[in-house]
Symmetry: C2
Subunit: 443 residues, 2 copies
């Protein structure tokens, strides 16, 4: 992975170094978290990719539960229980699922409780699933009490009950949750297969735990390679030398640009298959640093609003806003090198004369020219940006990226003086919702 | 459609009235655009939904080109040439395409020129399309010279050439473009079927032109109902009386909130099938009011940044940011009433005791309770919002919504003193890209 930012990020080198300097102590602390290699600190998610025991448990469960007959892996989870898995799955397979109906096993996500989606999903179960071994339900909830997840699980299990016996269904469920959560205990009583989440690992930092690893392994993604990518990156991200440590640089640039009024961070992916990776980051940044209070309990309403854009598509949508509109954005361009490029335009065009210099171009060449043109336009308008180049879109490279961004966020939270690992304001709507549900019941 | 905003939008009623007052002249002007019923003014897109001749032409082309054998309608277009179609298609069918592989005809969009997507798409053509009448290519480009669209068309037509004769392929192409554009003339020479876009109708306002109507009709969506919804709404949106005119209210609220520092407009859809409708609006708002210069050519860097969120999913992602983070957002909650609700939770839960008051709830009831809880939390935090309630998710209701938002944007552009219909800064990156492509050729 490469990170390019000099000149383009429009941050003075000395300001950058000074900011990074502030992180020195925390960087050393992260170093000790890595060395201790346990799950005590809030930052402990960095130890997941080298936890051979946990990875081994996932692979064992995979052996027990997944056969070549598996067609549909249903992830019942929301937020941190689905976004990381979706990021990796969509990047590798999922972004073409609608035109690739015969590739199995497929991952299907049940996140919210939309009645129309559920109606169609029940239809799908009725007509497309004929044997228990064709389907696996992975019910994922860290707390074990997530309303949408529990509701979806109940609805789907009841629907499957019309086809299979209770015993058959129970055999096709894997529950991923905190050890000794309510869900853990209920599942244990019912003798369901369980996978644990280390208690200190927060939802948005859990992609390298069984939360992400099990469903990804089930669909044939090389989770060892994913973890290797993450393990490589976590070492880089505790390096003292600035140029070796992309997380330090990136956190400092985000912080300094936010201080200069660039309070939106647009993640502009020139690869449509990475849209879900952007949505994963949206939670990571939104929840980690979007905070009403700082660490001294002062009201600060801190945060940077993450947005996700897709190149070149969104140049034809929000490109005008980005190039002409408010100067409130710091952009991260992300793209992947491609080793091979089998897609070229015909030598003899069917409709010549419409676009200059097109014949014999390649799709990759066009994308690169458009990205290059976009960066030049941003530079001309003095719009700040950095650029992340992935070596390719693979399990390894995605592991690197995910780990890079999680450690970047820890540094950024530190700079912003907020608790990077909690989400206290979310309780607000949950409390109100529980009141409403209770009132409905007693009505 | 209902628009609720009192108290919640946190705008003084007198400030609202005063702002609306400023729009009186423009509202009367819009009235004359409607009465003239032609395509002369930049606002003329409002006349599309009542243009029986153009709608008739679409239906005629549908009769000629679409049979029961059609399986795949491929929309080759980007930006305004795809987003409106995708908004309606995804809302009605597309959001479950990946779990509903046997429903035909399906719409497939080719927007950017991603090599991996193209590689898989060519595979798909090879294995899933066996007869010419199973596929139709709708090549859509207003200017007729959109790089991505022309490139994609060339690549796909060449790929089809391995299966079908040139004559067979030509018969399966419909080209939608401005009359007498370069593409129009090339297509005419080749005797391809053509559909016109009225010249003054801008891309982001073109969903009710053949751009949107033809592919939507091809997939079985009731375009007459869509246009009726739009026709009903365009009348409301020129009403003098404030309470009858949601576009006036909404534009004024967006404007006043932006003036008060709420420069992000989050479109929070409590219906996952409306995500593409949000992306359509993202272009509409981004391109229409994201402007470097105002009408007096002064540099203003005007604009509001549109974001799209999905309830309840994103409460588990950016909910913390929205409730605790920077006070820079004005939220539009959008949801649809459902007449029927077939999805209820089991009477006897499989995993009882995890979430209170769950048994016997309905999916719709849960969604409503979560939305209600969210609105209460926003109100407690004094976060401004308005609420749009669609009567249902149908062609008619979507037509209403699209038209409402297009006229809202015209009013908003007027208030912001910008040209609502151009996108001059987009040229910046295009010029640079053309230079790069030229240099590559001569290299």
């Amino acid at each position: 992975m490469e990170l390019l930012y000099k000149d383009s990020a429009r941050i003075d080198e000395s300001a950058l170094k000074e900011t990074v300097q502030q992180l020195n102590e925390y960087r050393e602390y992260l170093n000790t978290v890595l060395s201790k290699n346990d799950y005590d600190a809030p930052e402990c998610s960095v130890n997941l990719p080298v936890d051979q025991q946990l990875i081994g448990l996932v692979k064992e469960t995979q052996k027990k539960k997944i056969s070549k007959k598996l067609k549909y892996m249903v992830v019942i989870g929301i937020g941190g229980s689905s976004l990381g898995t979706k990021a990796v799955y969509d990047a590798v397979y999922g972004f073409t699922d609608a035109i690739d109906c015969k590739r199995f096993p497929r991952l299907i996500f049940l996140e919210t409780v939309d009645p129309e989606y559920l109606r169609r999903f029940k239809n799908f179960l009725e007509f497309e699933v004929s044997k228990p071994e064709e389907i696996l339900l992975n019910i994922i909830s860290k707390s074990g009490t997530t309303t949408e997840t529990v509701a979806n699980a109940e609805i789907i299990i009841e629907a499957l009950g019309k086809k299979f016996s209770e015993e058959q269904i129970d055999e096709r469920i894997v529950v991923t949750t905190d050890e000794n959560s309510k869900l853990w205990n209920v599942a244990k009583l019912k003798n369901l297969t369980l996978l644990p989440i280390p208690k200190e690992v927060g939802g948005r930092y859990s992609v390298m735990s069984p939360v992400g690893l099990f469903p990804l392994a089930a669909t044939g993604i090389d989770i060892e390679s994913l973890c290797e990518g993450a393990a490589t990156m976590r070492k880089n991200c505790i390096e003292n030398e600035l140029e070796l440590n992309p997380a330090l640089i990136s956190a400092a640039l985000l912080f300094l640009n936010a201080k200069a009024g660039k309070t939106i961070n647009d993640n502009f992916f020139f690869a449509p298959q990475l849209e879900s990776l952007g949505k994963w980051y949206r939670q990571l940044m939104g929840e980690s640093i979007g905070k009403e209070k700082n660490l001294r309990d002062e009201t600060v309403n801190a945060g940077i609003t993450p947005t996700v854009s897709i190149g070149s598509t969104d140049l034809h949508s929000v490109g005008q806003l980005y190039l002409g509109g408010p100067l409130d954005k710091f952009t991260t361009f992300i793209w992947a090198r491609n080793q091979e490029d089998p897609i070229t335009l015909p030598k003899k065009l069917m409709m010549p004369g419409l676009v200059e210099n097109l014949q014999n171009s390649s799709a990759q060449g066009l994308m690169e020219a458009i990205l290059e043109g976009t960066k030049l336009a941003y530079a001309k308008k003095e719009l700040p940006f950095m650029e992340i180049i992935m070596p390719e879109i693979s399990a390894f490279a995605l592991g690197e990226y995910l780990q890079f961004k999680m450690i970047e966020m820890m540094y950024l939270g530190k700079l912003m003086d907020v608790n990077t690992f909690d989400q206290p304001n979310v309780e607000l709507y949950k409390i109100e919702t529980r009141k409403i549900l209770k009132a409905k019941k007693t009505a």
